[in-house]
């Protein structure tokens, strides 16, 4: 075998059809099209790293042979890059094949171990990561990855020991602090909090670390400290799944605070704001859409509904408004424009009361 070549085979049924630009039902109905599409997919993958790729499909088995122009290192790099991009389906067989050629390559052991762990192939992952820390006992990242895999395997004691070992080797690894915190949260919440805090300090730009810290503050009953952390999580990457979770947590928090301020009954101030909005929109229907739209835009990252200060202004309406006032206007506008929409806060009691008041006037 060429020193820079490798071959891997797998049953065609194992190929992730969602990688292809054709509906799976059409591919399954046409074996010829399926073969061509898979060949094209691997030709495309290997085009990126050079060398020559030969793809053969027969008897339900895909056989990929790649002959490199330089060496196997670039293939490993490519596999790691694919993992970074989330393309596990391509990266895992590639790295498995590379590992057969270079069984003690620590980069392959670490990255393939983590990928298999993420895919919940835990036993295989632990096997590779244990091999890694045997070959390289000072690998903090290796112990960290092993700890995560052991945690996923419900081997909590081993996981804790591996993560603590990782932190002994590298106390500045924010990811290891965060992983240990997650493991400890249930039985040692105070120690968990210290690790979450440290992770947030070490990874100031890591949205997941900041979110974990914010959630931990909430779980430990410190909403005042949690709210600014969650707000920052949203600002870091507003269009992300973590930002959505932070928004949801902030909405719950604001709602809870508002309800507890009103003794869990209707808020008279919100009722009056709803009434004012009903009257305003009845008198000036053109304003309904403009005002509602503008408040919705303004409120994307949360309006402070628990601060009574009139600190917000609108282009479409004169004056200064409190957060609760604007949210009440938006609630009424949305209910009148699209009754089935979700305004993100429950003012149904206040809205109902305001409607009754308006009808009686």
């Amino acid at each position: 075998m060429n020193p820079g070549s490798l071959t891997f085979t797998f049953p065609i049924g194992d190929f992730d059809l969602s990688k292809l630009p054709i509906d799976p039902a059409l591919l399954n109905a046409s074996p010829e099209m399926l073969r061509e599409a898979i060949s094209d997919y691997y030709a495309d993958q290997f085009r990126a790293i050079g060398g020559e790729a030969q793809i053969a499909i027969s008897g339900g088995v895909v056989n990929v042979r790649w002959i490199s122009e330089s060496g196997i290192d670039e293939l490993v790099e490519h596999g790691v890059e694919l993992l970074r991009q989330g393309d596990f389906a391509t990266a895992v067989p590639l790295l498995q094949s590379a590992l057969a050629r270079v069984p003690n390559n620590t980069a392959v052991l670490l990255n393939l171990g983590m990928a298999l762990s993420d895919q919940r192939k835990i036993e295989e992952a632990i096997d590779l990561l244990e091999r890694l820390v045997t070959l390289e006992p000072e690998s903090a990242r290796g112990w960290n990855a092993l700890g995560v895999a052991q945690g996923r395997n419900n081997d909590i004691e081993q996981a804790e020991a591996s993560l603590r070992r990782s932190l002994e080797l590298d106390p500045q690894d924010g990811h290891a602090h965060r992983n240990l915190a997650t493991l400890l949260l249930e039985h040692s919440p105070r120690e968990a909090m210290a690790h979450y805090r440290r992770a947030a300090e070490l990874l100031p730009d890591d949205q997941a670390a900041q979110y974990g810290y914010g959630r931990a503050l909430l779980a430990l009953g410190d909403p005042d400290s949690a709210d600014p952390v969650l707000r920052r999580v949203i600002e870091m990457a507003p269009l992300s799944e973590i930002a959505e979770m932070a928004r949801s947590a902030r909405r719950d928090l604001a709602h809870k605070s508002m309800r507890s301020a009103g003794g869990d009954s209707s808020r008279a101030d919100a009722t009056m704001y709803c009434l004012a909005a009903i009257q305003l929109f009845a008198e000036s229907p053109d304003l309904r859409r403009q005002v509602t739209f503008e408040i919705a835009l303004l409120g994307r990252n949360g309006l402070d509904i628990n601060d009574p200060a009139s600190k917000y202004t609108l282009k479409s309406l004169q004056g200064a408004f409190s957060g609760l006032q604007l949210v009440s206007y938006m609630y009424v506008g949305m209910k009148e424009l699209a009754p089935d929409s979700d305004p993100g806060i429950d003012l149904s009691r206040e809205y109902e009361q305001a409607r009754n008041l308006s009808a009686g006037q």
Partner: protein, 255 residues
Amino acid sequence: MSLNPDAGRLIDLVEKQTGYRVTLGTTEDSATDAQMISASASNPAHLINISTRSLAVADYVTSVQCVMLLTMWSHPRGVPQFQPIEERVDQAVREAAQSPRLAKYPKEAAATTAKSLVTGLLLQLRSTPSELIAMEYIRRECPSLHRQQSDTVNAILRRNSQGLKPEVKEFAPAEILEKSLLMSAVVALLWGQISGSTAAMLPYKSIGLDAKAEDLLSDFRAAPSELGERSQTVVDAWAEKLQIREFYTWIFRPK
């Protein structure tokens, strides 16, 4: 706001060229990757809401919407509005409902399906040229978005290819289905030329649509380079060839 630099640059460009802010948000609606409302006298900003289903490719989806805004707002006559002509569309719906493939169903179901197919075809005609413009523009100008572009375009192509499933052929009138598949084939063809991956065209080749798709793509290539005029010119050229030009008109809203 922490966005990919290429996406951030496109947002800045939209704000500079249109004079309105771009506001980004999310939506639970998963029918499309994004909803976009262009600014107007009653909307003080452009609003782009990304579907929570598409957050993993939010930078690319945002960029596509920005290029679409640039396209809409760059037409010298104003912001073009594609306006279906109701009587002509209604007539096409009636004809489609009576086609052999739909006539076998209860009248009401046939009428509803026919309406959805005809309006869907017009929507595809209106949007495909600007999608192609965005696809090319982002490939050329935004190298950091190539990976997200591949993922998103592959998903769109996969969705488009569902039109080739036998169950669709069971009810969709042949004339409408072929026009729709032809426009989908153009998307696949252009993507193949941009990315070097030829798989997307396989299903369309298998039913002999490749030559016609080449022809429509040549209209796209021959259209003026200025974005707004290009989109409108291609829509009209395709509509002539697909024999649906009399179904709509253009009106131009002042910028």
